[in-house]
Structures are given as structure tokens and as C-alpha cells.
């Protein structure tokens, strides 16, 4: 066989290919194309896609492509797309990362769209503050939540133990946990999950003591003593058998499906209130929520209401107006609010909250009641965590595991935690 491609054929073929692709792009250019990226589970995707359908029905000529991933895969994907100048128009953003993305110029400031296109006047002002970085507004909160303890009510009933209440202290909680483990109604079942490496739990503990994780100017806001006492408290829980063993805790991978509560190893775990819907979907027993334990019966202000997640607009977006319009629809349209329910947190808009509240089912009411009933437990929103906070969380988890597996004493762990976090904040 004699295969020959001469220059003329090659050029002709190439031209044909090029014109084909040009045709393709012209056909697309007639409609606005919005790209969405978010993290979450399938139920969240279903709700989000429903809102997109509603939006398309009202805005002919708009196509919306949505893509979703799990939390751990989401961030590498987003970073890669932004670096490749291929960022989605609308980005679901977390409180932890908004500073990093905003300061690196990846997000579009949205204050110029308010109040004409972005009507957030019935939002809680503190939650709008939460979407600001260096005075610019980058993230529209999609719902409020707060950190919470999830309880398996059936396990408590079986063991004949009273569940912790709003007043329960850590000391009492330790006793409750040990009793639950001792009751032995379920095989290999413990009182609660080992929360020594859970950042929100540690932060709550620090706030009750008048400290915090980070200061507004990106410095560490606690000392080795507080950290050592924290690790020491958990070492005692472990010794008393109140919480799960370290090798069981290490199976937890920051997802609802791997939580010791979900896999039937413990009667309590720590989460965010909007995740209650997800937990209840996976656990057969009826669940309930309560706050994180108090240090003393009168300790206050550990909790805060925080934006569970934001929608931000990419600074690279070519259809910014449309993206802002979609976000406004997402948080202010009653049909959209009903489709979204409280799965992403309690709606920030008062009007939407009222719309949703009337139609909530029993599971949906739990987080709503919980967040609105925090009372003196809730304090002000801390400043967004600094660059490096993501690594700080990993350091806390690693060191807590070192204590749990007996490689470090609580006192040394406290020192090491402060040292390592100070070092990585300096590195930036």
C-alpha cells in the first residue's frame, strides 16, 4: 500500500477541520453558557440541578453545565482549572479557602453588583461580612450552619443513659461516654468519636477560654498550655474508654460515610449542622443534634453561625453579569429555596427562610431549630482563616494521632502543635 499525503491535501484537510471547529463555536456563541463547580454528594447535585432547570426555564438561551466532586477531590480540580485559565464561572467556595483565592486574584469582587443585581438586603449582615476579604465582597453565603454534636438517640435509649444537653460539660460528657461503652449493648460500640484532631471542636474549646485559632492578622491565637490541656483531656477520655480507640478513629476520612457514628462504632460524632440531613440519610437510627460541650456550666461563646459555603464568581469569567444573576436567583427565588431546602445550611435571606420553614420535614427542622436555639453558646464569627490554615488542620490531626497512639505526651504535643503552626504561618 502506498500512503501519501502531499502538502496540498494536508492543507485542505486542515482547513476543513478548522472551519468545522469555527462553525461549532459560532453555534454555541448564540447562547450564554454558565459553568458551575461545587463539592458535595449526589442529593446536593440533584437539588442544584433542579435550581439550574428552574433558572433556564426563566432565562431562555442559557445553558448551564454543572460539575460536582467530593470535598477532597474538589480543591485540586478547582486549583488546576484556575491555573489553566479554565475556571468555572461560578465556584462554590469555603470559608477556609476564600482568603487564599481572593488574595491571589482568582475571584471577582461583587460589591458593585449590590444592591441592583445582587439583592442581599434581608441577609444577616454578619454573614455578608463573612464573605469579605480585605474590604471586598467575594462570596455570597448559601446558608448558615454551626458546628454540632450528632447523637444516636436509639443507642442512648438502649443503654438507658441520658443524652447530653445544652448544659453538659466536657467532664460530664466523659462520664457519659464511659458509661455508654461499658453498657455494651452493641458490639464494639463506644461513647463518642475521638475529636482531639477535629479542628472545629478544638476551636470551640479555645473560644470558650477566650482564645481562638488565629488572629485577624494571621498569627496563632493560642498557646502550648491550652493545647496541652486539650490533648490531656482527650488522653483521659481514651483511658476511660469513653471514646473510640485511635486505630478506629484513624479510619475516619473527613466524610459522613466514614464517621464512627455512621459505621456503627460510636454514639456521638462532631459535624456541621447542615450535614445532619446527610447523616440521617445514612443512619437508620433516629439522630439528634446538640452543641459542643462546655468547659464549665457557664462557659459561653464557643459556637458561631458561619456561612456553610459561598458562591463566588471567577475573575476569569466572561459572563459575570449572568453569573451574578444566577447566584441572586439561587439565594432569592422561592422555588429555588424550596428545591435547596436546608441541605446547604439555613437560607440567609429572611424571606427565603420563611418560605423554607413552612415546608420543612422532620429531618430538616432539626438543624434549623438547633442553629436558631444556640443562644449564649454562639459568639461572633472569627476572621477567615489565614493562608496555611488548611495545613494547620492537618498538623492538628497528625499530632493528635501521635498522642493517641502513644508517641507523644500531651505536654509535648501542645508545644509541638504551637511550634509547627507558627512555622507554617510564617512560611505562608
Amino acid at each position: 500500500m502506498n500512503l501519501r499525503v502531499n502538502r496540498r491535501n494536508f492543507v485542505a484537510g486542515g482547513a476543513a477541520l478548522l472551519s468545522l471547529s469555527a462553525l461549532g463555536s459560532r453555534a454555541l456563541a448564540e447562547e450564554t453558557r454558565l459553568r458551575l463547580l461545587w463539592w458535595g454528594s449526589q442529593p446536593r447535585a440533584d437539588r442544584t440541578n433542579k435550581v439550574s432547570e428552574l433558572y433556564k426555564a426563566k432565562n431562555a438561551g442559557t445553558t448551564i453545565t454543572g460539575e460536582f466532586l467530593g470535598w477532597a477531590d474538589y480543591w485540586p480540580r478547582l486549583a488546576t482549572q484556575v491555573a489553566g485559565r479554565n475556571a468555572p464561572d461560578i465556584i462554590q467556595m469555603d470559608y477556609r479557602y476564600i482568603v487564599e483565592y481572593a488574595r491571589r486574584g482568582a475571584l471577582a469582587p461583587l460589591e458593585s453588583y449590590m444592591p441592583s443585581k445582587l439583592q442581599l438586603d434581608d441577609f444577616d449582615p454578619a454573614q455578608i461580612e463573612g464573605g469579605k476579604v480585605d474590604g471586598h465582597f467575594y462570596g455570597v453565603s448559601l446558608g448558615a450552619n454551626s458546628a454540632t454534636t450528632v447523637l444516636n438517640t436509639v443507642a442512648f435509649k438502649e443503654a438507658g443513659i441520658d443524652m447530653p444537653t445544652q448544659k453538659t460539660t466536657w467532664e460530664e460528657f466523659g462520664k457519659i461516654g464511659a458509661e455508654m461503652t461499658k453498657a455494651g449493648k452493641r458490639k464494639g460500640y463506644f461513647g463518642f468519636a475521638d475529636g482531639s484532631g477535629a479542628e472545629p471542636l478544638f476551636e470551640n474549646y479555645l473560644r470558650q477560654r477566650g482564645k481562638a485559632l488565629y488572629t485577624a492578622d494571621s498569627k496563632i491565637a493560642f498557646g502550648p498550655e491550652e493545647a496541652a490541656e486539650w490533648f490531656d483531656m482527650w488522653a483521659k477520655f481514651r483511658e476511660a474508654g469513653a471514646c473510640v480507640t485511635p486505630d478506629i478513629q484513624a479510619l475516619y476520612k473527613d466524610s459522613i460515610d466514614t464517621s464512627p457514628l455512621t459505621v456503627g462504632k460510636a454514639a456521638c460524632d462532631y459535624a456541621h449542622s447542615n450535614q445532619f440531613v446527610g447523616f440521617q440519610a445514612m443512619v437508620k437510627d433516629k439522630l439528634a443534634l446538640t452543641n459542643y460541650m462546655r468547659i464549665k456550666p457557664d462557659s459561653k461563646g464557643g459556637h458561631y453561625r458561619k456561612p456553610s459555603m459561598f458562591f463566588s464568581v471567577s475573575a476569569q469569567s466572561k459572563v459575570m453579569d449572568q453569573a451574578v444573576d444566577y447566584i441572586n436567583f439561587f439565594v432569592k427565588n422561592p422555588d429555588a429555596a424550596l428545591a435547596l431546602d436546608v441541605e446547604r445550611g439555613i437560607p440567609e435571606s429572611k424571606a427565603m427562610r420563611d418560605v423554607v420553614a413552612t415546608k420543612l420535614d422532620e429531618t430538616g427542622k432539626v438543624p434549623l431549630d438547633y442553629v436558631s436555639g444556640l443562644g449564649d453558646l454562639a459568639g461572633p464569627l472569627p476572621p477567615p482563616p489565614p493562608t496555611g490554615a488548611g495545613e494547620g488542620q492537618v498538623v492538628l490531626r497528625t499530632i493528635s494521632e501521635q498522642v493517641a497512639f502513644g508517641q507523644l505526651t500531651p505536654a509535648d504535643a501542645g508545644k509541638q502543635l504551637v511550634d509547627e503552626i507558627t512555622r507554617l504561618l510564617a512560611r505562608g
Binding site: T245, D247, A250
Partner: protein, 315 residues
């Protein structure tokens, strides 16, 4: 100058140029290059190009979102002097390489020899034994490994029958790396296939002659099989060592990307990935990647240098 056309001798090439017939030569080879084109595009566009860019990035502070700034050798200096996680990751990776490669090769050779004894339905067995390698580092494997090695897994259920209460192997810092080594050994398919082919190459009459001389099975293995198989062993060892250094998915999936507990499964590539995509330090991660290239190159060069003392080519 080297000829670009591998199939044509230097003499003919020079002759062709001398006679001004370069064009004819090109015409003769053009279809070849045309067929090579997909690979060439892939090699230059997706392998060599990005590799060179990453070499450049390793001297910058690139954070994926802003444009890179030149920092000289700072990344390399930090790796060498001020990065405890680098040494931790190196330690985990070396442990993995040193354990998984010999065990995997031994196991693969044993299975290949068993299959080489003329079992009926060989293709079926071969396919079955190869299957785990195809499954690779999928999520299903992570789930399977958890079912086996978690606190209430099959392994502990088996141990319980003899009265031993085992920990959750997969999430215990003292044992987790061994569950990953076990996973690697279990995926012995590809060296096994190569061993099997190598065993088939050994002439049967050698064994016949040996048994006539009264050599035992063990002696035959030691004096005939092993020496004649050394080229294949060498090939498998080099390939598997490189693969083990580059291992990523097993640890990523089983530890949920954390390399935990307590960095006990923090493979080098996993650390590199965390730095690049988790902590936005693409420049630093590029430097880590090039250090890994160097380490693999040194190991491979060492294997080739020592190979002349133990690998026998029958030529």
C-alpha cells in the same frame, strides 16, 4: 550526525545526501513518521514539554494562581535542609520499595513456575492471576482492603478463631504500610506474565540432560532456571523498583489522601501531590518531583552497573 531514519544505514544516508536525493529518502520515510505522529505529539506535548516546564517551575514559587517568580535554588535548599516531611515521606517510600519489590517478584516467580508445569487451562489461570493488576488502585480495592484489614475485617475474624484480637491494621501507624505492601504483592500479574514467558524460553533439553546426570529439582532450579532467567529478573526488578518509587494510588485511596495515620503511608508522590494541589506550592512540588527523578535515576544506574556481575545473557 545521526540518521533520523533508524532503518536506513549511515552509508546510504550519506550517499543519498551526496547524490542530492534527500527528498527521496524523506518520501520513503514520511509514512513512517506519519504513523508515529500520534506518539510524537504525545511525547513532545504531554511528556517532554511538561517535564521541561516543571524543571523551570522547580526554581520558582509558582502557586498555581499567580504567575511564577524566580527563587533560584531555594526550593531545593529547603528540601535538603528544612523539610521534616520530606524525610518522613522518603522513609515510607524506601520501606515500601525495599519490602514490596522482592516479595512481589518472588511471589510472581513462584506462581509462574507453578503455571509453567503444564497445567490444563493455563490461559484461564493466567487471566485470573492477572486480574488484580488490572484492578489497580481503584476505590473498590480500597473498600476491599478495608474489609480485610479493618478492626472488624476478615483478617481479624480469622485471627479471632485462634484467640488473637488484632487491631485495625490498615489504620494503625505501626502496620498500615504493610497492608500496602501486601496490596502490591497481590498485584503480581505483570511480572508473572513476563516470568512465564522467560521460563518458556529455557530449552527443555537442558533439564533433560540435567536429570540424566541425576541433578535434583532444586539443583536444576538453582543451576539452570535461575541463571538463564536473570535477564528477565533484572528487567522485572528495574521496572518494579521504578513503579514502587512512583506508587501513588494505593496510599491515596486507602488513606483518603492524607498519608495517615501519622504520615505512616505518606508516599513520596502523595506528599508531592499534597504540596502541589493541597497547599498551592506547585514550584516546591516540582522540585520534589525532580529529586524523585534523580533518586530513581541513581537506583536504576546502580542496578545496571551491578547487573554485569549477576545477569547472564547467553550470547
Amino acid at each position: 550526525m545521526r540518521t533520523p531514519a533508524g532503518a536506513i544505514s549511515v552509508e546510504r544516508y550519506q550517499g543519498a545526501v551526496a547524490e542530492g536525493r534527500f527528498r527521496r529518502l524523506w518520501n520513503a520515510n514520511a509514512p513512517g513518521y506519519l504513523f508515529l505522529l500520534p506518539w510524537l505529539i504525545g511525547f513532545f506535548g504531554l511528556t517532554l514539554g511538561p517535564a521541561l516546564i516543571s524543571l523551570y517551575l522547580s526554581f520558582t514559587d509558582f502557586d498555581m494562581l499567580r504567575s511564577p517568580g524566580w527563587v533560584g535554588a531555594a526550593n531545593y535548599v529547603r528540601i535538603a535542609t528544612a523539610d521534616p516531611k520530606f524525610s518522613a515521606a522518603m522513609h515510607v517510600t524506601l520501606t515500601y520499595v525495599v519490602l514490596s519489590v522482592p516479595f512481589k517478584l518472588t511471589f510472581a516467580l513462584l506462581v509462574a513456575m507453578a503455571l509453567n508445569r503444564g497445567v490444563r487451562g493455563l490461559p484461564i489461570y493466567r487471566a485470573i492471576f492477572y486480574l488484580p493488576s488490572l484492578l489497580g488502585g481503584s476505590v473498590a480495592i480500597a473498600v476491599l482492603w478495608r474489609q480485610l484489614f479493618a478492626s472488624d475485617g476478615l483478617v481479624n475474624a480469622a485471627l479471632a478463631t485462634v484467640g488473637i484480637e488484632g487491631p485495625s491494621w490498615i489504620s494503625h501507624p505501626s502496620y498500615s504500610i504493610y497492608t500496602l505492601v501486601a496490596l502490591s504483592v497481590w498485584q503480581f500479574g505483570s511480572p508473572m506474565i513476563i516470568f512465564l514467558a522467560g521460563l518458556r524460553q529455557i530449552p527443555q533439553d537442558m533439564y533433560e540432560a540435567a536429570s540424566l546426570d541425576g541433578a535434583s529439582k532444586f539443583r536444576q532450579f538453582y543451576k539452570i532456571t535461575l541463571p538463564l532467567l536473570t535477564p528477565v529478573i533484572f528487567f522485572n526488578a528495574v521496572v518494579q523498583t521504578i513503579d514502587a518509587f512512583k506508587a501513588f494510588t494505593p496510599a491515596f485511596i486507602i488513606s483518603g489522601g492524607t498519608g495517615g495515620p501519622i504520615n505512616s503511608t505518606l508516599f513520596y508522590t502523595l506528599y508531592l501531590y499534597q504540596e502541589a494541589f493541597g497547599n498551592f506550592r506547585m514550584g516546591y512540588a516540582s522540585a520534589l518531583a525532580w529529586i524523585l527523578v534523580l533518586i530513581i535515576a541513581v537506583f536504576t544506574a546502580f542496578s545496571f552497573l551491578t547487573s554485569r556481575y549477576w545477569v547472564h545473557y547467553d550470547d
